[in-house]
Structures are given as structure tokens and as C-alpha cells.
Subunit: 118 residues, 4 copies
Amino acid sequence: MGDLGKLAERLREFAAAREWEHYHTPKNLVMALAGEVGELVAEFQWLTAEEAASIMDDPQAGRRVRAEIGDVVAYLVRLADVLGIDLLEAAEAKLAESERRYDPARYRGVYRKAPPLE
Amino acid sequence: MGDLGKLAERLREFAAAREWEHYHTPKNLVMALAGEVGELVAEFQWLTAEEAASIMDDPQAGRRVRAEIGDVVAYLVRLADVLGIDLLEAAEAKLAESERRYDPARYRGVYRKAPPLE
Amino acid sequence: MGDLGKLAERLREFAAAREWEHYHTPKNLVMALAGEVGELVAEFQWLTAEEAASIMDDPQAGRRVRAEIGDVVAYLVRLADVLGIDLLEAAEAKLAESERRYDPARYRGVYRKAPPLE
Amino acid sequence: MGDLGKLAERLREFAAAREWEHYHTPKNLVMALAGEVGELVAEFQWLTAEEAASIMDDPQAGRRVRAEIGDVVAYLVRLADVLGIDLLEAAEAKLAESERRYDPARYRGVYRKAPPLE
């Protein structure tokens, strides 16, 4: 079992040991994920593009960003586990679709939304 | 290199092949992540707790959820790569902290916010 | 000038008095809005549907919800002011469109996404 | 009744006419709000600060931003109505608190998080 699988297992055990599984419904977990992403966004909201790019050079800010990222990952892994979704497969499927939709020759240097694939 | 590392590399190549790296600043990626989590939340917003729990039994809804989760993972992996953060380590650090903060004996069955660790 | 206009003016003065206007770019304000909505979502994430419906009966939780709603309104009004968007007109336009898209006779009791208007 | 009150009433009638009130629980509405804010964020995510500042000069992008803002306002007004919260009072209370917390003399030109009020 890979590292994401081990993390999913640790999160299952964390919830089971505290009898918190009843909180971990898909609706609740998707809300928890949104809440943590909101906290992550807040770490960047007042920064200029340059300050944001070097945020990890600031020990305090870097620590907070790492903590929020950790919370986001935990809820995402827990949600995927409860839904029975393989996170890596889901991402790879979307990436393969984007690789077909966005021909490098026609989208070089500039982003614009491409039509969906047939 | 683990699977998350391979995904990060494919995302790097995807951006490089289209000369899209200039779009992938931390501020932009954190916004993209928030946008995709919003789309994921929208898949669940009108569902009852029961409908949400069995959403993956519906082929169309399940396909949409899997696609949105894929987008969330992709932007999270790309953001972490750009910031130089190890996603698994960040999650494990937060989980270890939560394991210490939430003594199973004192938090059995009910969640309430615990004081931060000293 | 209506109440929303007075609030927009107080927010302008709040920013001007502290020379914080440079922080209030559209990108930053939209991120701040997302961050505050995340905090609002977090107040509800572990509640059952029943607990959520009666959250305002709990003095402490009610106070927190009111505070988060206040933050969301403030950033939304500030963002709209900076962009030159009339919040009520925007909402009324969308509502009028929804009233046409969702014929009550065909959508009674059940929600499903309707095709966009021609 | 003020304009926000009229909008709240139109939203109540919109829901009642379609027998959609059962969808408009606080949990669902707070998720819908998060979903629409996500769509709003997405309109800005790939823009530079300058492009974002002039987004309303672009007819197509401006139309989309106005539409997303309209959706955000509608769900916020509906949520506040269901919870029994006065949006303007909530915002004014938070602003008054921020005016006391952030002494212009000590926070001129630079934002840093102030301690909460006693």
C-alpha cells in the first residue's frame, strides 16, 4: 500500500479511536475541505505576487502555510477514502484529458478555456 | 520517486510544454484550488445526507465528483511543488498534532475544539 | 444613498484612514471573501441538518455565525465597490433569469439543473 | 422595507413557488454560497493584478463577474433570511470592531493581524 493509502488508514484509525466516524460524512468532509482551503487562501490574500512567491522563506508564514496544506491534504484523503475514490487515478485522468484538450501548439504561452473533448 | 512525485513531474511538464508556468504562481494556484473545491462543494449542496453518502452509486454524479476531485488534487500537488512542500509530511505532521490534542478518552463520540498544544 | 451605499462608504473610509487601499485590489478582495466564506462554512461542517437549522439558538455559535456573516458582507460590499458593481442589481438580474429558466410548473418540489436561456 | 428586504422576499417567493424550501437549509445554503464564491474566484485566478483591476472593461469577463456576484448576493441574502440575521447590522458590528482594533496611527500603510479586543 502506498503512502496515500497509509495516510488514509491513519485517518481511519484517528476517527475510529475517537468514535468520530459519524462526523465524517461526505457532505461534512467536503465542507471541512472548503473551510481549510479558505484558511490557506487567507495566508496569501494580502501578499503581493512577489511576497507570495517567497512566502516559504518566512519561517512563521511558512509554518502556517505548511499547517494549512496539511489540513487540506488530510480532509481530501479522508473524503476520497469515504467516497471510495483513488486520488491519483482521478488526477491522472483529468490531466490526460487536459493534455488532449490543450494542444501545446495552439495554447503556447496564453491560457484560454478550451472546448470540452467530444 | 513516489506516485505523488510522478504526478508533480507530469504537471510540471504539462505547464512547461504550453509555456504556462507564469500562470502557476502561488497566489494563482491557491485561487485555482479554491475554485475547484467550490465546484466539488456544488456537487453536494442540494443533496440530503443520505443522497450524499451514496453519490458514487449514481454514474453521472459519481463521474462529476471524480472529475472535480481530480482537479483539486492536481492543483494541490502543483501548488505544493511550486512552494516546495511535501504533502504527505505536512499531513502527517498535522495528524500527529491532532492525535496529541484530542485524547480519545476525553473526546469520545463528540467533537469540540481542543486547546492548541503548548 | 441606501444602506449598502453607506456601508461601502464606511469601508472606503476605513481603508483610507489606514492607507490600506493598496491591499484592496480585486484579486485580494476576492481571496479575502473566499477566506471568510471558508470560516463561515467551518461553523456548520460538523453539525447535523437539525443542529445547523437551530444554530442561532446557541448564543456562542450564533455570535460566531453573525461575526463571520459580517465579514463576508464587508468584503463583498468592498469588492463590489472597487469593481463598480451594484450588488442588488446583479442579484436581481440573476434572480429574474432564474425565474425564467425554472418554470414552477416543471420544477415543482425537485431541483435539477435547467438549460441556460437562449 | 429596504432593498435587501425586498430581495429576501423575492427569494422567499422564488423558493416557495417551486416548493424548493426544503433545499434551503442553512447547511445547504452555506455550501451553495461557497460554491458560487469559488466560481467568482475562478474568474480572477489566471489574471495578473493589472488585468484583474480592469476586468470590468472587458464586456464578456465583466458580464461573468457580475453574474457570479449576483449569485453570491442571492445565496447570502437567502442564508441570512433563513438564519434570521440582519446582513447590514452584522457587517456594521464587525466594522465597528475593526475600527477599534486597528488604530490608524499604529497600522498606517501596513496590515498585520491585531490582537482581539478585550
